[in-house]
């Protein structure tokens, strides 16, 4: 138990070290991509919980990210002033709405970001439960295809819906206010605070997931992953546990969608794209499947390189190739939990032992 909090502390140290490095080298502009990387990492670690620990694949998590992002973007930009009615005045009286100025100086009446966030998460939970129930009865390729379908449906919906901005997406999303005068926003003046807020969210998410892995539920999920029928025979409600993990990972994705949308000030349909989902799965795979730290470190490196434009026009291809290579050569992932003990065993293996097994 102490070990996992030690790792968390070490990671927090790394985050501080990165920020200090950008401070010393006057490269503070890197923090913008690093902050976005943090929010993408939130999806990756949630997905890692689903794929690596519950043993269920999802090629539709960009869809949940988009549900989160679009709900909050729509609610916080849609002007309710011209829609006065009983519901609007009730919301207004209960403080759920905010009056603010748009970029042209006109006044807007929109839903408070906190309420929008709650609505986004609630919708995600409902959608994830509704589709997860039937879809998680499938296994292997069929589950992959069904979740892929969910992602494509969300993508087509946001692309084809006018009030969601169609192919333009939604822009001019306001910042997300937090206690203590903090604001999740892409303004360069609050770059450092947003960097820490974003990675703070990741660290919080990691604490929750690491705790879960080392709990009774985590043990049960590992059992379901390893031998589902035997897990059921031990009294573990396998279907419910898989569904709960699916919803949990969807909530991680949706929360990332909400926060990144407020940070970027908008969201476009490409965020719901299939290649985004493939990218998240590829990162979990290269991170070692059942390895939260591996997924997180790979997410940090690859998302950052991608956002800085190092992969150029091959951006999507890079992640596709990574996924293919991993599946071909090391289906357990590159950074396996037992990588070092495996290596040690491989080095010290002698023929006599081989024969005995």
């Amino acid at each position: 138990m102490a070990r996992r909090y030690f790792a968390i502390a070490a990671f927090a140290g790394l985050i501080v070290a990165i920020q200090l490095t950008t401070l010393v080298t006057a490269t503070g502009y890197y923090l913008t991509q690093l902050t976005m990387t943090a929010y993408y990492s939130l999806i990756v670690v949630g997905l890692c919980m689903l794929i690596g620990y519950a043993g269920q694949i999802s090629l539709g998590h960009a869809g949940f990210f988009a549900i989160g992002g679009y709900v909050t973007a729509f609610l916080t930009t849609f002007d309710l002033k011209s829609h006065q009615g009983a519901i609007v005045s009730l919301l207004s009286k209960s403080g759920a709405l905010v009056s603010r100025q748009d970029v042209y100086g006109g006044s807007l009446l929109t839903v408070h970001p906190w309420l929008a966030c709650v609505a986004a998460i609630l919708l995600t939970v409902v959608v994830a439960y509704l589709v997860g129930g039937p879809v998680l009865k499938l296994k292997g390729h069929y589950l992959a295809m069904a979740t892929l379908g969910i992602g494509i449906i969300v993508y087509r919906i946001v692309l084809g819906t006018d009030f969601l901005g169609a192919s333009d997406g939604i822009s001019e999303v306001p910042g997300f206010p937090l206690p203590g005068g903090l604001l999740i926003t892409g303004d360069s003046s609050s770059r450092v605070s947003n960097y820490y807020l974003a990675w703070g969210m990741v660290i919080l998410g990691m604490v929750l997931l690491l705790n879960l892995i080392h709990s009774r539920v985590g043990r049960a999920l590992a059992a379901v992953h390893g031998a589902e029928d035997a897990a059921g025979a031990m009294g573990i409600p396998t279907a419910r546990y898989k569904l709960n993990t699916f919803v949990l990972s969807a909530v991680f994705a949706a929360l990332a969608g909400v926060l990144l949308t407020h940070y970027n000030g908008g969201i476009g349909p490409s965020e719901a794209g299939v290649m985004k989902s493939v990218r998240y799965v590829a990162i979990v795979a290269i991170g070692g499947m059942a390895n939260l730290w591996g997924a997180l470190s790979m997410s940090l490196v690859l998302n950052y390189l991608s956002l800085r434009g190092y992969f150029g026009t091959y951006d999507d291809a890079v992640f596709g190739v990574i996924l293919i290579l991993i599946m071909l050569f090391t289906p357990d992932g590159l950074l396996r939990r037992h990588l070092f003990s495996d290596l040690k065993r491989a080095v010290s293996r002698n023929p006599a032992e081989e024969e005995a097994t």
Partner: protein, 253 residues
């Protein structure tokens, strides 16, 4: 006192009548064995009782409740736990972790409690661990606690699987061919272990091919042939039953 009652149960797979109108009772605190030639329907019957399959007809009553429409999970929660003909341990988990999974039905921490690492889960985890070590010590596998379960010798894997089932503290333990793949010494040990489990108050129903084991430890034996019950009696009487001899050795013409 009847713990398990199978009443007129039938199961058909396409053109094959795997189990046909089968009835028998298992008395509380007894060891009952199901025997029969290959394909007699023993494993199908096990799957029906333990909730892996639904019977086409008939009912199964366990501890006073009808269970034939329940899932394997619900059946396990009610205190009936099974092992598998082909050992199904959880891979990539140690012996200790495998046994700890068996404590699932006797603990409570859910997703939220686990994620927040709530204080009440600490004591619960400690008790799960203590109970698991207790079980491993009674089975003589405590030394292997930190070993990956599937890397153990076959005979020890069987013991781990039984340990995992015992961790559920079942009222009824279903053992599907517990001596399969074991040598003679291990089979004898398995027999002693099963008797010992019964002596702790657990009712045992087993499918087994090893006749010497069945005759030594069972209180009663049910003989199946082509999905039907052809005999149910004490072991000594079964050995003399003409129908049983005919099924096993063929007609003497």
């Amino acid at each position: 006192m009847t713990l398990l009652s199978v009443r007129g149960v039938s199961k058909r797979f396409g053109g094959l009548q795997a189990v046909n109108d089968l009835s028998f009772d298992v008395a509380r605190g007894s060891i009952k064995a199901l025997i029969g030639p290959n394909g007699a329907g023993k494993t199908t019957l096990f799957d029906l009782i333990s909730g892996f399959l639904r019977p086409d007809r008939g009912e199964i009553v366990f501890g006073g409740a009808e269970i034939h429409a329940m899932s394997s999970c619900e059946v396990a929660v009610r205190g009936m736990v099974r092992t598998f003909q082909h050992i199904r341990l959880f891979p990539k988990m140690t012996v200790l972790e495998n046994i700890m999974v068996g404590r699932h039905v006797h603990s409570n921490a859910g997703f939220l409690a686990g994620m927040l690492n709530l204080p009440f889960t600490w004591g619960e985890e400690r008790r799960i661990r203590e109970k698991s070590f207790e079980i491993m010590e009674s089975l003589g596998i405590a030394a292997q606690a930190r070993t990956e379960a599937v890397s153990l010798a076959y005979g020890q894997q069987r013991v781990v699987e039984i340990g995992r089932a015992l961790a559920c503290e079942p009222k009824l333990l279903l053992l599907d061919e517990p001596a399969a793949g074991l040598n003679m010494r291990e089979t004898n040990e398995m027999g002693r272990l099963i008797s010992r489990i019964r002596d702790t108050g657990v009712t045992v129903l087993l499918v087994e091919h090893d006749m010497s084991l069945v005759m030594k430890i069972s209180d009663e034996v049910v003989v199946l042939s082509y999905g039907e019950k052809i005999a149910e009696d004490r072991p000594l009487a079964i050995q003399k039953n003409r129908e049983v001899i005919r099924v096993y050795l063929g007609d003497d013409q």
